[in-house]
């Protein structure tokens, strides 16, 4: 079942395309990661999904229902948009009580459960203004999760959390999807998003420039064989004669991107040693997600 579906969703501010014909779908139980630089359009899309911004063009369907003024299923959605804020003079408990009331909930245990789950129990009566950044993030998440929604729309949910908190949130997100929840999240921490998301959408300048599942993403990461010698010019010529495409990088190391070279680096070593060129370095390199992300954006600009 499709929980989120957008159809050629567009939003323009003057000549700026905050969202340009974005069509995505997210199925039940999926974690969909939204990647993009600051100002790429992630938050605009999230705000449109939450009815805070009206699209200039296109439609949004949540749980199969068109998102318009008649949409009523807000208690099936939990959200966290940009930096979480709370009423500073209110205690953690009263902050949650405000949203308990506004969500018309009828099970007071929900507050205790979420306080315990997000380890906010000991701050129950502390004013929100004294909380650390990480605990403010936890309070934001508590507001988003307290009513046990089916769909979670989370903008940068791990911002400000310490490593332990990041692992906790990761486990929490996995637990939510195991219970059938659907999650759309945005993050600039690409390594983290790849650990939790099933599918990833890369957005740049308002456009969805690539959408792929996590396995496909990992397979698309560029790999290289790095070779270091004391006579790179001769080494490149020898490798070229052997049918390899070798180039000299800025760091004075030779790079080979042939699949044969990456899979069998010992052959490269043997060829060079046979020609009396000893190696001081031989290693395989896999680009990280940040490099992949930037490469994808650069390619989209060139197109």
């Amino acid at each position: 079942m499709e929980v989120i579906r957008t159809h050629i969703l567009s939003k323009h501010y003057g000549s700026t395309h905050a969202a340009d014909k974005i069509s995505i779908h997210v199925n039940q139980g999926e974690i969909y990661g939204f990647l993009g630089l600051n100002g790429a359009g992630k938050t605009t899309l999230i705000r449109m999904l939450l009815g805070m911004i009206q699209p200039d063009q296109g439609e949004i369907f949540l749980f199969g229902q068109k998102l318009d003024n008649t949409f009523q299923r807000w208690n099936d959605i939990g959200y966290l948009v940009e930096t979480p804020h709370a009423y500073p003079n209110l205690s953690v408990l009263d902050n949650l009580r405000v949203f308990y009331k506004l969500r018309n909930l009828h099970n007071p245990k929900l507050i205790d459960i979420i306080l315990e789950k997000l380890k906010l129990e000991k701050y129950r009566h502390s004013p929100a203004k004294v909380l650390s950044l990480g605990n403010q993030q936890r309070l934001g998440l508590a507001k988003a999760l307290m009513h046990r929604p089916q769909l979670h729309i989370l903008d940068e949910p791990i911002n400000g959390l310490d490593p332990e908190g990041i692992v906790e949130v990761r486990n929490l997100l996995n637990e939510l999807t195991q219970n059938g929840s659907t999650i759309l999240l945005s993050s600039h921490i690409l390594g983290e998003i790849s650990k939790v998301a099933n599918r990833i959408g890369i957005v740049h300048e308002g456009k969805l420039i690539r959408e792929l599942d996590t396995e496909a993403l990992l397979s698309q990461l560029q790999k290289k064989l790095i070779v270091g010698t004391h006579n790179n010019t001769a080494a490149i010529k020898i490798l070229a004669d052997a049918g390899y495409h070798a180039t000299l990088a800025n760091n004075n190391l030779i790079e080979l991107s042939d699949q044969q070279a990456i899979q069998f680096p010992e052959r490269i070593s043997r060829i060079l040693v046979e020609h009396d060129i000893p190696l001081h370095l031989l290693s395989t390199f896999t680009e990280d997600l940040e490099m992949y992300f930037l490469r994808t954006i650069k390619a989209s600009k060139n197109n």
């Binding site: 705000r47 939450l50 009815g51 805070m52 911004i53 009206q54 009523q72 807000w74 208690n75 959605i77 959200y79 948009v81 940009e82 930096t83 804020h85 709370a86 009423y87 500073p88 003079n89 209110l90 009263d94 009580r97 405000v98 949203f99 009331k101 506004l102 969500r103 018309n104 507001k143």
Partner: protein
């Protein structure tokens, strides 16, 4: 009801609540000081500019004069203090950064705004009732001469009618708080209306400027009070309704960045 309870939760721990009562409570205290000075010829002689002011206002040391001072404090001071209340109730969500949390909930935006308007009205009413009670206690301590029942009813009617007129003209402040995303724009608007009201009232057209009407109605200047007519009331109600509708429409239909 749930939205109203949520608003009350937000308000009850706010120090601004008690600050507003203390600030507005200065009016009956100042009125009592006026009465004390008037009753003491020596003190009146030493009061300098204050004695001139008291003489100009034609104040006599009785209940009628004292309740008149309290009423005038609402007609003029109320525009400021109720404006401050409205600015805080509606602007705090942007200052606290919580506005976005209120936009996609089962409680509709209209319901949340209505709860805020109810809080604004009841907070303002609580302020004037508090001042009235303080005034009654101070008046009793000053042993002011008793008034006739008819006169008491007349003064209290004027007191609460001035309150309602002042509350009504506060609704546009809610719109400016949302549009200006915080306290600054609505407080600027309140300051502007106070200044412009003074100028327009001085030119003799105050009866047609909504923010001048409560002050004139309260009897701050008896000769101008007669200029208040049906058109003045219509303008006040039109301003109130326009402010309310503009607030609702703005929050319901405008993009919230």
């Amino acid at each position: 009801m749930n939205a109203l309870q949520a608003e009350w939760l937000k308000l009850k721990n706010a120090s601004i609540l008690w600050v507003s009562f203390i600030a507005f409570g200065l009016a009956p205290v100042m009125g009592a000081v006026f009465i004390l000075i008037m009753r003491d010829p020596e003190a009146l002689a030493n009061a300098g500019a204050l004695s001139l002011k008291i003489e100009a206002m034609g104040i006599k040391p009785d209940w009628n004069a004292y309740l008149g001072i309290l009423t005038q404090a609402i007609g003029v001071g109320g525009v400021l203090i109720f404006g401050f209340v409205a600015s805080w109730v509606f602007g705090r969500e942007y200052t606290d950064g919580t506005a976005k949390d209120l936009l996609s909930l089962p409680s509709s935006r209209t319901r949340i705004l209505n709860a805020k308007f109810i809080i604004y009205v009841f907070w303002s009413l609580a302020l004037v009732i508090s001042n009235l009670l303080t005034g009654l206690i101070l008046g009793w301590l000053l042993q002011l001469p008793m008034m006739e029942t008819e006169q008491i009813i007349k003064q209290l009617t004027l007191y609460f009618n001035t309150t309602f007129l002042t509350i009504i003209i506060g609704t546009p402040i809610a719109f400016f708080a949302l549009r200006g995303r915080g306290y600054l724009a609505p407080l600027g608007f309140v300051a502007l209306t106070l200044v412009v009201a003074q100028i327009i009232a001085a030119t003799g057209y105050g009866a047609y400027f909504p923010w001048a009407v409560p002050g004139l109605f309260s009897g701050i200047s008896p000769e101008y009070r007669e200029s208040i007519n049906e058109v003045s009331y219509a303008i006040v109600f039109f301003t109130g309704i326009t402010g309310y509708l503009a607030t609702i429409i703005y929050w319901k239909y405008t993009d919230q960045q």
